[in-house]
Assembly symmetry: C2
Homo-oligomer: 371 residues x 2
């Protein structure tokens, strides 16, 4: 391989400085070629990122070698094993050492990289992340946060948990509120995010017992957590401009996320059908191309690709399993932003603060009051 | 009031035969004028429907009198009280006698009408329906079923429960499968509907304990229930062509329903923005008008307006609170179809059959096997 001078991909500042992202090249539906293509796209756009890439070295060296100048930005770590979409998390925990996913997390664990990116099996990635990075002090259940296209000026709302754990009690939901607000502050630049709790109605008497309890807990922690609490929100509020962070358990959040994606895709397909319907409408589509492209960009899930694992000693970005180069590049961009903002340290401080005697006392009092 | 001969609204067959629908004129966001407009629209399209309309008689007589020929098709029942969106179900149960909602249900209870339609407060409507109509033998938790735009030839999938009860155990989910399949057979004309159980993954090991149990129960009842069981489905499958009926608890179903509606509305608004963006794209939109109208019709929630309460001694159609004339008319059309197909008797027979010793034995064995 010849790490030749490239005209297309700028070399990092002497390949030393900048932000280091650890990338799992395996486990995605489109294989390592798509991941390397995504890395190349990111490298081209941003000279400050360097990569540690994990997978079968010979294959990766070849793929990276085909992109001029990319080899100088990448450190390839040989890992023969691959975690497949079918592997159960428990199996991966027992036998996963030697896989590219394990190796990817390890680079964050030992401090070589700031953030890890993988498009592999979500359950296995969360299980491995919990085993190797461990939970942050004060966090019982880590969460996966995603970005949701919205009517807000920032263009996106944060929703969590979208699938780390199918259960969440009132205390977990409070932790999600704190972590989600921290993510919105650092990832979306909102000084004082507005947090809502997902329910089947906005009235106080609605919903499950743990939601009523969480409602009180979150309300009483809002000031200390530097966020505004807007109360219960409904499924229709996920893209709403009246909230920035939506808190829910991982079962409900996962169903909502996939329902939203499925609906957007359905409407998109119907739109294509409608425009393919007659010569006149095909001509109209041609005229409207720029507008339609703008619309597509706004709702394209590839451009907001990347769930973030929150509540661990290290940040992990989970990319869609089916992500292509554009999707991988979006996930890497998110990882870079979080690394650069010092997000992890800020979030850890926020959770630790919420455990301070004053807030813990408040939370305890509320819990007693409603139970 | 002069029930004059009308040129626009055909009179029912001597105002005697046909199907009788009981309609609550109050409780909707747009007031009784919108409901009467919806009744008029339905009356115009379908000569076989007669109406019993519930609300303040003087006001309703006036509204109905303004529509030529409508008075001859309507029997107005005076009810001064109105259930508001803010009323708690428990209050309505205690003090609801004399409201238009109570009176509407009463017409189904005493056999004057086959199906009830209301756009009032969902919680109160379900509570009143349970109190006055009572649950079908064998049904522990009634459910609300909705239609979901889909890629299937019939254009819609059925999802239940979308909000009757925030809880559902394995046996409830089995009942939902039987009732949902019956609804798909009678409402959508599918001889052997395909039923799926909503979960956060399609693998058998995923999800909550009650879902694994329901998975076994539904699988073993499919043949006796004359449906095919496709196993676990995800949020993205709600509009899918691989399933016709999606079974879930009322909390998850309600969040999914509102998320889907919210997403479709967001994409629609983005689309409008995109087309309003330049002179060129405005012109394109003009050219594509027919196609866009067709698209709008396909995803317009007003045209699939009407959740159906299943598992009671009588059928109740819940229309959107914000429904306009088009929405009310769609809900009445659905009520008419269900009344005409003898849906209620068929569903009752199906649930009773599932309690036959053979199936009950099967279900019991499965329950034991998995617990």
């Amino acid at each position: 391989m010849n790490p030749a001078e490239s005209t297309t991909i700028p070399r990092g500042p002497e390949c030393k400085g900048g932000v280091v992202i650890s990338v799992d090249a395996m486990g995605g539906d489109r294989g390592p070629a798509a991941v390397v293509a995504g890395i190349a796209e990111s490298a081209q756009k941003n000279a400050e990122i360097r990569f540690i890439v994990h997978g079968p070295k010979a294959e990766l060296d070849q793929l990276i070698g085909h992109r001029q100048g990319l080899a100088a930005r990448c450190d390839v770590r040989d890992a023969a094993g691959v975690v497949t979409m079918e592997d159960k998390p428990s199996q991966v925990l027992r036998k996963g050492e030697g896989t590219s996913m394990w190796s990817t997390i390890e680079s964050v664990r030992n401090g070589e990289a700031t953030v890890a990116v993988s498009c592999g099996n979500t359950g296995a990635l969360m299980a491995l992340s919990m085993l190797r990075l461990r939970k942050l002090p004060g966090v019982n259940r880590p969460a996966i946060a995603c970005l949701w296209p919205s009517r807000n000026p920032q263009g996106f709302n944060v929703m969590l948990d979208v699938g780390a754990d199918i259960r969440a009690d009132a205390q977990d939901l409070l932790t999600y509120a704190l972590m989600g607000a921290s993510y919105a502050r650092n990832g979306l630049g909102l000084a004082r995010p507005r947090v809502g709790l997902l329910n089947v109605g906005t009235e106080e008497h609605k919903g499950r017992a743990e939601l009523k309890q969480a409602h009180e807990l979150i309300a009483s922690t809002a000031d200390a957590g530097s966020f505004d609490y807007v109360g219960f929100v409904e499924g229709g509020d996920l893209p709403s401009a009246r909230v920035d962070v939506i808190v829910t358990d991982g079962f409900t959040g996962n169903v909502a996320l996939k329902t939203g994606e499925g609906t957007a895709k359905l409407v998109g397909d119907f739109l294509k059908d409608a425009f393919g319907n007659s010569v006149m409408s095909k001509f109209a589509a041609l005229l409207a191309m720029t507008s339609l492209k703008r619309l597509q960009k706004r709702i394209d899930p590839r451009r907001v690709n990347g769930g973030v694992f929150l509540g661990l000693n290290g940040t992990v970005v989970k990319s869609h399993g089916g992500a292509d180069a554009t999707g991988i590049s979006a996930a890497i961009k998110l990882a870079f932003q979080l690394a650069q903002s010092g997000f992890h340290e800020r979030l850890a401080a926020r959770v630790a603060q919420s455990l301070s005697p004053e807030i813990a006392g408040l939370a305890g009092a509320d819990k007693k009051g409603t139970s």
